[in-house]
Symmetry: C2
Subunit: 142 residues, 2 copies
DNA sequence: GTGTTTTCTTGACTCGTTCAAGAAAGCGCG
DNA sequence: CGCGCTTTCTTGAACGAGTCAAGAAAACAC
């Protein structure tokens, strides 16, 4: 078990606590889940965790790169466990469904802006907006 | 004056009202401004507009494509007047500054996801995260 | 002008998230 | 294995962007 959650936490210099392990597991089990869903999943294991502990854990894990926070406009914060692989997201305008897309070219091509205005760019985030299969068939009756 | 604000509103089938004209002017005058800044700018002309009128105008204008709403994670909603030209944004992680970048290739190349998962994609939004010139020199003291 | 529809004003309210203080748990050390 | 320091969790209140709702006012067509 090379990527045991506990090990991940220790690697990051964090203390291993039940809430954190549960949050980490919840994010892995429910990709793109919002805070409330994660809170629910965590409470399946630990019925008495406070929402604050979940918020704090998510912030800490996000800050150490163990989970990634995504927040499409108009949505609440969502979290996912795929980090560091430069993938992007498809977001359904209708139902909010989020799907992962690997970067088309594979080696952070997106990091090349036509004019960087002197910015030091460290990440390019791509969000594809549209309708998921379910919503597109429903919305275009034809 | 081909793009007179009033004309734009009428074209979109909207009534021409003072708050809307002021909001439209404010968005043009202050690209990437948040709601509060727009509210302030609008009140420079119309001291008594309600924030609700501004919110409503922004929603209406956004819905009709006269202004575009952008909302980087962790920021409040911001608005800009460049619409339909497929440009993207540079956002400074430190100070929140936003700069425009034209699409690198020019013809919506970003709209090509490697695997669309059956989604009907209508827009690709790209956000480059990093540090603006000012913050990058200040943050890397060496 | 008159009437109908849309839009603005006012004010309360929701909800995700954050703040703060103290209690509890984790971890290193002897 | 217990001790003490530090980090983290609990509890509960607060914050703020944005929304909702009802009535008044303004815009447009005739």
């Amino acid at each position: 078990m090379t990527t045991a959650p506990e090990h991940q936490l220790r690697e990051a210099g964090l203390r291993v606590t039940r809430p954190r392990l549960a949050v980490l597991a919840a994010v892995h089990a429910h990709p793109h889940a919002d805070t409330e869903a994660i809170l629910g999943a965590v409470r399946a294991d630990l019925p008495d965790v406070s929402h604050q502990a979940v918020y704090d854990s998510l912030h800490t894990l996000t800050g150490h790169g163990l989970v990634r926070r995504i927040k499409p406009a108009g949505s609440v914060a969502r979290y996912e466990s795929r980090t560091g692989d430069n993938h992007h997201h498809l977001v359904c305008r209708s139902c909010g469904l989020i799907a992962d897309v690997d970067c088309a070219v594979g080696h952070t091509p997106c990091l090349t802006a036509s004019d960087d205005h002197g910015f030091v760019i460290d990440e390019a985030e791509v969000v594809y907006w549209g309708l998921c299969p379910t919503c597109s068939t429903r919305t275009q009756p034809e």
